[in-house]
Symmetry: D2
Subunit: 377 residues, 4 copies
C-alpha cells in the first residue's frame, strides 16, 4: 500500500488523538494510503522527544519550519494552539503540503481568510478537524436529514456545556491553559465550543442567515501563568445566540464553561415536519429519533443504539451493542481523508467550507458587541 | 343517574385511595351508577368519625357488621388488613352485597378459597383491587400483547423493589405496621408486592405452570408494637422466583423491601418475537416499546408518553403530555366496575380469577420451603 | 369550617382543572375555608348547564355579569379566553370579589395594567394560575435555590415545546382553537407557553433586565372557524429569546408549537456555583440535581423522585414512590390561596407580581419587531 | 523497554480485540514490558495470512502447535473457539508459556480443571479474558464495594440480554456460528453470557453458595453449516437462575438470546445497607449510584459519567466527559497483565480463580437438569 507521510505539529490532547488515529485506522478500515508517523514538531525539545518516542514518530523537531520544509512530508497536521494556525498553514501551503488543521481554523476571520487564500493559491488539499461530524450517531443524523425523513426543518438547537473553569483560582495562559488567553485563543467558548456546534449545524441544516448574540466573562481577572500577574481575562466564559437559517428554521445556540455538572455536554436537536432527532456527546453512541409516521398510540422517542453494522462507520468495529468512544471520530476522519485524496470531492470540511463556521463565529462576537442582529454568511 | 351505595371498611392508605376514586370518578367518566359514600366502618371510633367527616360519608360504624348488614349498602369495599378479608367478605356475600376487596385476597390459599366459595354461592359480583392493571400504560401494554403485536412471548420479568423496612429499629405490628406481622399479613413481600406482579403477569401473559422460589428474612426479630417485646419476624423481607408460563415463556420475579434506593419500583418487561415492552411504576406514564419491524437502522426503544386521547382511559383526563398519577388507577377501576354491573362480563379480576394469583403466591411460598419446583396453577 | 363560595367563568380545559381542584383540596389538605362550587358562567347555555350538572355547581349563568354581581360569590375565577380577562376582572374588582385569573393575565400589557389598577383600587385579593409553581418538584427547586445550595447563579434555560398545530389543515378560532386567533389570544406561544417559563424563571431567579427575541409564523394562513374563510394568522408559532437577569446570569428561552415529538415539554435548568438543577413537565415528579460538593468520583446528576413526605405538598398525598400528576398543581394552588386569605402575605403570584411576567412577554414581542435588545422590567 | 512476545491463536472477533489491545496499550499506559505481535495461528492459511498482514504480526502459522513451540513466544493467547482451549492451554503450559485464554475457560468443568492443573504444574502465569472487569465503571463499582460504602449487601442482580439468534433461519456451526454448536461451545448462553455475569458477581460480591436454574431451547433444530442438514440444537437459548451468595445476599441471574430489542445488554445491580449501584453495557461509561447518606430530600440515583481522571484507568485517556468504548477493556486488561508479570500478585482472574465461575456455570446447568438447588462452589 502507498504510504502517506504525516508531519504533526503539537503534542497536546489533540496531538495524542491524531496520532492514535493515524496508527489505528489501518487496522479497521480499508485504506488507499497508509499513514506513517514521519515527524512531529513542537517548541519544547524535551517533551517533543518523549512524545515522539511514545508514539514512535520517525523524527522530531523543535521548530515546525523544519517539518514543513521536509520534502518527505505529505501532510502537515496542525494540532498546536490557535495563534500558530495561520502562520504554519500558510507556510505549509507554500511548501505544497496537504494540510489538516485543528479547529477553529484561526483566531479570527481575517487570519482564517488568509489561510484559505494560501491553500487555494497553492492548490493543496485541506481539512479541518471538526471531528464530531464523524461520530457515527451524528453522521447517521446527517443521513436521515439528507434522506428527507424529517421533512422541512423548523427548529435547530445546540449547546456545549462545560464547568471546568469555574474556580476563580484557575489561572490563564501557558501550555495547559492557553484556551483562557485571548492572545493565543482568539476567543473563548465561541471559537472553542460553539464552533463545533456551528460546524455540525451548517452540515446538517445549511447556512445561517443572521444571528443575535450575547457573551459574558463571569470571572474578570485571573493570574497569568506566563507573567505571574493577575491580568484581565479577554475571552468569554459564555456565549449564546439566536439564529435564523437560510431554510427558514429558527435556532438557539449556547456554550459555556460555567454550567456546573456538565463536562463536555454537546447536545443538538432538530425538529422537522415529519420527525425529530437529538444527540448528546455524553452518550455519543445513541441517537434519539421521533417519527411522526409511526402509529399514533405508539409514537415515542426512540433511543437508537448506533452500533449496528449498517450504521455509519460501525461495520468496521465490533458487534451490535458494543460502543466505541470519542477517539474513534478522529480515526473515521483520517479514513475519510486518506480515501478522498485521489477523489475529486475532498473530505469535508475543507478550509474553504470551514469559513462558513468562521463567519458565524465572527458574527456572534460582533453581535455580542453591537447588540444587533448580524449577518452570518 | 342511579346511585350505588358504597360501604367502606378501613380508613388507611387504601381507604383514602378508594374514597377519592368514588368521589372523583363521576366528574371524568360517564357512569351508569353514581357511587355514593354511604357508610364507613373501622374499629377505632374516633378515627373513623374523623375520616367520615373528611370524606363526607353519610354514616360511620365502629363495627363492620353493622355496615355489612345495612340494607342500603350495595357494595362492601374491604380496605382493612389482610386478616379481616375472609370474615368480612363471607359475611358480605351472605348479606348479598357486591364485594370489592383489597389485595391480596386473603392471608393464604385456604382463606381465599372460602371467599370465592361464599361469593359463588351467593351469586354476588366481586372484584379485587389489583389497581395496577388500570394504569394507562399497563392497560396499553395489555392491548399491545392482545393485538398480537409482540408475537410469541419468550420472556417475562417483573420486580417490585422497596427499601422502607431496612432499619432494624423499625418495629412490627399495630395499625401502621401490620404488614410486618405474620398473623395479620399472612406473608411478607410475596403477598404484598409479588401478588401485584403476578396478577399483572397472568393478565398479560396467561397462567404459570410452575415456579422455583427462595425467600429470606434479613432482620429476624423486631419489637412488636402490640406486645412491646422483641419478637421473631414471620414474614419474608425478600422473595424471588423463576417461572415457566403455560405458553412456554420463561420468567423471573423478585420483590424485596431491602433494595436501597427504590421506593416502589414495580417494573415489568415482556420480550416477544416481534417486539418488546417495558414499564415501571416510578415513571408510570411511560411505556417503553421496541418494534422489530421498524426500519433496521432506526430500531430503538421508544419512550411512549401514554397521555394521548387514544391511550386507555386518557381521553377522560387532560391533554397530551400532561400526566396523571397513581391514584387514577383506582378511579379507572371504579369506572370499570360501575359500568360492568349490568353487563354479563364482570370487571376483572373477580375473586375467582384472583385465585390464579393466590395459587402462584402459595406455590412460591411452598417452593421456598421445599427447595423444589412447585406447580403454580 | 367556613365556606368560600366560588364563581367560575369558563368550562373548558381550565374550567375542569379548577373545578376538580376545589372539590378535591379539602380531602387532602387542612383548610381554613372550604371552597364551594357556587356558580358557573359561560355564553353557551346548553354546555354550561351540562357542565354545572357534571360538577354539581349550585347554579349556572349564561352571562358572567350575573355571577360577578351575585352577592353570595366570594371568589370570581376567570377561566375563559384571554380577551375576556380584563373586562371580567375589572368588574369583579369593582364588585369587591377576590379574583383568580388564568394566565396570561391579559392579551397585552395595557389590559393587564388596567386589571392591576382595578384590583389595587378595590383592595381585593388576586392570584394568577401559574400552576407550575406548585408542582412539587418545581416548588422544591425554589426551596433549593432560596436556601443558597446552588450559590451564585450563572445560567438559566427554559423551553416549552409542543407540536399540536403543525398541520396546515388545522383551522383557527372558535371555542376550541381561540389560542390561534390573535384577537382573542393576544399573542401566540409567547403569552401561552413562554409566560409559564417566564413566571417560573422570575420566581426562581429574580427579575430580568433585558431580552433579545425572535418570533416566527410558519403557517401564514389558516381557515377561520368563525368566518369560514382562510385568514392570515396573527399569532406566532415560535418564539425564542436571550435574556440577562438582574443577578448577572444569562438565559435562553424558547417556545414553539412546531417541535415534532414534544407534547408539552416544559423544561428548565439552573446552573449555579455549587450545584445545578433541571426539571421537565413530561416527567414532572422528578428533579434532576447535581451537587458539586459531592465526593469527586461520585459526582453525578441525581434523579430525585419528588414523592417523599418531606417534599413540598407530598405529605398530603400517598406514600414515597407513588406519583401525582398535572392536576395536583391546581389543588396545591387552591390550598395555598385558601389558607392565605386571612394572612398578610398573599398567595403568589398576585396580579401585581404577575405584571413582571407581562412585562417580559411585552419586551419579547417588542424585541422580535425591533430587532434590538429591549428592557424587560 | 523489555519486549513481551505475544503468540495469538484465532483471528475472529476476539483476535481483533486482543490485537488492538496489544498495539494500543503502550501509547496510553506506562508499561514494564512492551507487547510485540510476534505470531498468530489459525487453521485457515489464507485468512490467517490476511489477518497477520493487517495487524503486522511478524509471522503466522496454520497450526497452533508451531506457535506454542516457538521459543521466542512469551505469551500464548487463546482466542479460538471453546473446544480448542483445553488442548492448547495444556500444551502451552507444558511449553512453559504464560497463557491468556478467552472465556469461558473451557466447554465444561472437567476440561477447565485439567487446564488449571496443567498451569499449576508448569507454574506459569495465566489469565482469563473476563474483560468487563476492566470497564472503568465496573472497576469503580468494585472500588466502592471494597471500600465498604454500600455496607452489607442484600441483593445482586445481573442479566445479559441479546436477540441475535431469534430467527429460525439462522443456521448453526462453522466459523461464524460455532457458538450455536454444542460440540464446539460446550453450552449456550450459560457459558457465553452468564459466565461474564458470574465472573463479575463473584469479583464484586464473593462466592455463591447454591443455585436453582432453568434453561430453554426455543428453536429446537437449525441447519448445520458443516453438515448442511437440519440438526438438533444442543445449546440453550436462555438460562436463568436464583442464587444465594455466601455473604447471605440473594441474587437473580438471566441470560438469553431471545430478548427482542437488546443487543448486548449486560446489566448489574447491587443493593447494600447504605447504598446501591447499577451498571449496563449499553451505556458502559456510566455508573448509577444511590447513597442513603445523602440528605433525605435530595436522595436520588446519581448518573456518574465515569470519565474523570480519578476514575479507574481514565487518567490515561482523554478529558472529563469524553467516553471510551468496549475495546478499551481489553487494553486495560493487557496493561494490568503486563505490569503484573514481575509482581507476586497475578492479574486476575487467573485460571485458578476463574474456576469459581466454571463451578457456578456447571451448577446452573446441573440444576436446570435436576430441578433442584445445586451447590455452586
Amino acid at each position: 500500500m502507498k504510504k502517506l507521510n504525516i508531519g504533526l505539529i503539537g503534542y497536546g490532547f489533540m496531538g495524542r488523538a491524531h496520532s492514535n488515529a493515524y496508527l489505528s485506522v489501518g487496522r479497521f478500515f480499508d485504506l488507499k494510503y497508509q499513514p506513517v508517523l514521519k515527524a512531529v514538531a513542537a517548541r519544547n525539545p524535551e517533551k517533543i522527544k518523549q512524545f515522539a518516542d511514545k508514539w514512535e514518530f520517525q523524527s522530531y523537531h523543535d521548530d515546525w519550519r523544519q517539518l514543513v520544509n521536509d520534502a518527505e512530508i505529505d501532510v502537515v497536521d496542525i494540532a498546536s494552539p490557535n495563534d500558530t494556525h495561520a502562520e504554519i498553514a500558510i507556510a505549509a501551503a507554500q511548501a505544497g503540503k496537504m494540510i489538516l488543521c485543528e479547529k477553529p481554523l484561526a483566531r479570527n476571520l481575517q487570519e482564517a481568510q488568509r489561510m484559505v487564500d494560501a491553500a487555494q493559491k497553492a492548490g493543496v488539499r485541506t481539512m479541518v478537524w471538526y471531528n464530531y461530524r464523524r461520530i457515527p450517531a451524528v453522521a447517521f443524523a446527517r443521513q436521515l436529514i439528507a434522506s428527507g425523513k424529517l421533512g422541512r426543518i423548523f427548529h435547530y438547537r445546540a449547546k456545549f456545556l462545560q464547568d471546568w473553569t469555574m474556580s476563580p483560582d484557575l489561572p490563564q495562559g501557558g501550555a495547559a491553559l492557553w484556551r483562557l488567553d485571548a492572545d493565543v485563543a482568539g476567543s473563548g467558548v465561541t471559537g472553542d465550543l460553539l464552533a463545533h456546534c456551528i460546524d455540525t449545524a451548517i452540515w446538517l441544516n445549511g447556512e445561517m442567515d443572521s444571528v443575535s448574540a450575547m457573551t459574558e466573562i463571569f470571572i474578570k481577572e485571573r493570574k497569568h501563568n506566563l507573567t505571574g500577574k493577575t491580568e484581565k481575562i479577554g475571552i468569554e466564559d459564555a456565549s449564546a445566540f439566536l439564529a435564523r437559517f437560510k431554510n427558514g428554521s429558527l435556532a438557539t445556540f449556547e456554550a459555556t464553561r460555567f454550567a456546573r455538572g456538565h463536562k463536555a455536554l454537546y447536545t443538538l436537536e432538530v425538529n422537522g415536519q415529519n420527525g425529530s432527532l437529538a444527540w448528546d456527546l455524553h452518550d455519543l453512541h445513541r441517537l434519539q429519533w421521533f417519527d411522526h409516521r409511526d402509529e399514533g398510540v405508539l409514537r415515542g422517542w426512540r433511543s437508537v443504539h448506533v452500533t449496528d453494522g449498517d450504521h455509519p462507520y460501525m461495520a468496521n468495529w465490533w458487534v451490535p451493542g458494543l460502543a466505541i468512544g470519542y477517539e474513534h471520530s478522529f480515526i473515521h476522519q483520517v479514513a475519510d481523508f486518506v480515501n478522498s485524496i485521489d477523489e475529486k470531492a475532498p473530505a469535508e470540511p475543507t478550509f474553504e467550507s470551514a469559513m462558513q463556521t468562521e463567519k458565524v463565529v465572527h458574527a456572534v462576537l460582533e453581535s455580542a458587541q453591537s447588540g444587533k442582529w448580524e449577518k452570518a454568511s
